[in-house]
């Protein structure tokens, strides 16, 4: 479904991605794991059209994504929830969700999708009139993910959804991601919380200093002592 080949991305002299190749199949949930500054967000940002790579290719359902401006990606079924959420903090929850349904592909069936989002995050239904910027971090993340789901995506890109959330809130969030995942949506996720992410994902790529240093089934990576040492803080504690 998504095919990334030899992607190289630079910010000035700094090379953020160095010949990265990765794939995401239809219905898969693929995690990108790595330390801070490994290039995870750059990779997701390149797929989401936020940053332009120096070389390489990104193909999505036979479409060259690098040929499209950022705002057209969502019409092709790609929804990005960036780091920092990218919501409209001065607007209400309701307006944020309506904005999610703005793309042409999302206009039909928007009401049903809104009900699904409210089913997934009941808090948003209660707070639909609240200004999004006045909500807690976890609630804002719900708005961001709900907004992305409103655009009827085929591929959901999540950048550090649990960043800055209290552990219990992060747990709730991963539970919701599990339900979204169960709905069959294809997901590419970047996360620092490797344990919780590997519990949900099918496969993962390990990124270090802009290069892929390993890949495999999530199950196998969870039980790999080397991975545990590097990415899971020594040991898995569930």
């Amino acid at each position: 479904m998504l095919e990334i080949k030899d992607l190289t991305l630079r910010y000035g002299k700094h090379t953020a991605l160095d010949g990265v190749s990765a794939e995401v199949g239809k219905g898969e949930m693929v995690a990108i794991l790595g330390a801070n500054g490994a290039g995870k967000s750059s990779l997701l940002g390149a797929v989401g059209g936020r940053v332009r790579p120096a070389s390489g290719s990104i193909r999505y359902q036979d479409q060259d994504l690098l040929a499209l401006p950022q705002h057209l990606l969502v019409e092709h079924g790609i929804a990005l929830v960036p780091e920092g959420r990218g919501i409209f903090p001065a607007m209400t929850v309701e307006d944020n969700l309506s904005l999610g349904a703005l793309p042409r592909r999302a206009q039909a069936g928007a009401a049903a999708r809104r009900d699904e989002v409210f089913g997934l995050f009941p808090k948003l239904a209660q707070r639909r009139g609240q200004i999004a910027g006045t909500m807690s971090g976890g609630e804002q993340q719900m708005v961001a993910i709900g907004r992305a789901l409103m655009s009827a995506p085929d591929l959901l890109l999540l950048d550090e959804p649990s960043l800055g959330l209290a552990p219990i809130v992060a747990q709730e969030l991963f539970a919701a991601l599990g339900r979204i995942r169960a709905g069959g949506l294809t997901i590419m996720i970047v996360e620092q919380n490797a344990a919780a992410t590997l519990a949900l994902a099918d496969r993962a790529y390990l990124l270090e200093a802009g290069r892929i240093i390993g890949a495999g089934a999530a199950e196998a990576l969870r039980n790999d002592p080397a991975v545990a040492a590097a990415f899971l803080g020594g040991a898995l504690t569930d």
């Binding site: 989401g48 059209g49 401006p69 950022q70 705002h71 057209l72 969502v74 019409e75 929804a79 990005l80 960036p82 990218g86 919501i87 409209f88 903090p89 001065a90 607007m91 307006d95 309506s98 904005l99 999610g100 703005l102 793309p103 907004r147 992305a148 655009s151």
Partner: protein
């Protein structure tokens, strides 16, 4: 006496509110501080006068035509002049400085052309200038018609911004231009629409002014300044605030002109401006 001031002040305030609404849309959505805004208003005012005197065209029909014409002019201006600046700035703060300098130049260009074609004298038309009694106060009919047009145009815009998909798009770009592409919004296109819409409002406001006020080719800068004062009073990007502050400024000016001295209206405007800047730089109506 007080009632007269209130009614005449509200009429003037209606035009001011519309004037400010256009400027705040241009700045809020397109992020262009348009110093030639008052000159665009003046072009519309002169066009209305010429159409009335030369072609016998009713000012109301003129204004109906001025709105889409203003939109087209704004669209063209953005495409030819502002678009390259926006692209060059690439989302950085450079756009504010560049746009101020560029529109400052445009101000003198338009002013020169207007002086050349219309001359330096004050112009006005006499249209519907018989008095109509409103709550016992005699008000010129042209002012009432102008006020009605401002209320309809401003009201329609406020409803469109709050209720329509298009309004949602414009608001999204005004509030978070970086997030807007995430929901499929073409930011550059929306900025162009915002700039064009602001010019359309400038044209309508200029048309209504010409219906009841005298003006000259050099007066544009005062309109820009007043619109700017109102925008800052109302809070930058705050549509409701601009409407309320516009109305308030009309009332204050009329009050100063009738109760103190007509020569002091401009001084009063800038006194308010200074007080707001010092006391509430975020605007009178801003939450937080």
């Amino acid at each position: 006496m007080l009632l007269t001031t209130l009614i005449l002040g509200a009429v003037l305030g209606g035009t001011y509110a519309l004037l400010a609404l256009g400027l705040t849309l241009q700045y809020g959505i397109a992020r262009i501080m348009n110093l030639a805004y008052g000159e665009l208003t003046l072009i519309a005012a002169f066009v209305l006068v010429w159409a009335f005197q030369g072609l016998g065209l009713s000012p109301i029909i003129s204004i109906l035509l001025l709105a889409p014409a203003g939109y087209l002019v704004g669209w063209a201006l953005y495409t030819v002049m502002m678009g390259p600046l926006v692209r060059r700035a690439g989302g950085s703060g450079r756009l504010e400085v560049d746009s101020i300098l560029a529109t400052f130049g445009l101000l003198f260009l338009i002013q020169g052309v207007l002086l050349l074609t219309a001359g330096p004298n004050f112009t006005s038309i006499s249209y519907l200038d018989r008095g109509v009694s409103v709550f016992g106060v005699s008000v010129a009919a042209n002012k009432l018609v102008a006020f009605g047009i401002c209320v309809v145009a401003g009201g329609a815009l406020v409803v469109a911004l709050a209720r329509t998909r298009w309004g949602l798009t414009l608001r999204a770009v005004a509030l978070s231009p970086v997030s807007a592409p995430l929901v499929g919004i073409d930011v550059n296109r929306t900025m162009r629409q915002g700039f064009a819409l602001g010019t359309a409002l400038a044209a309508v406001a200029g048309g209504t002014l010409a219906m009841y006020q005298t003006f000259s080719a050099t007066g544009g800068v005062v309109f820009t300044m007043k619109a700017l004062v109102i925008v800052i009073m109302g809070g930058v990007g705050n549509v409701g605030g601009a409407l309320a502050a516009g109305l308030a400024l009309g009332l204050v000016e009329t009050f100063v002109a009738t109760a103190i001295d007509p020569g002091l209206t401009l001084a009063a405007t800038f006194a308010i401006f200074l007080i707001v800047l010092l006391w509430r730089p975020q605007g009178l109506f801003r939450r937080r």
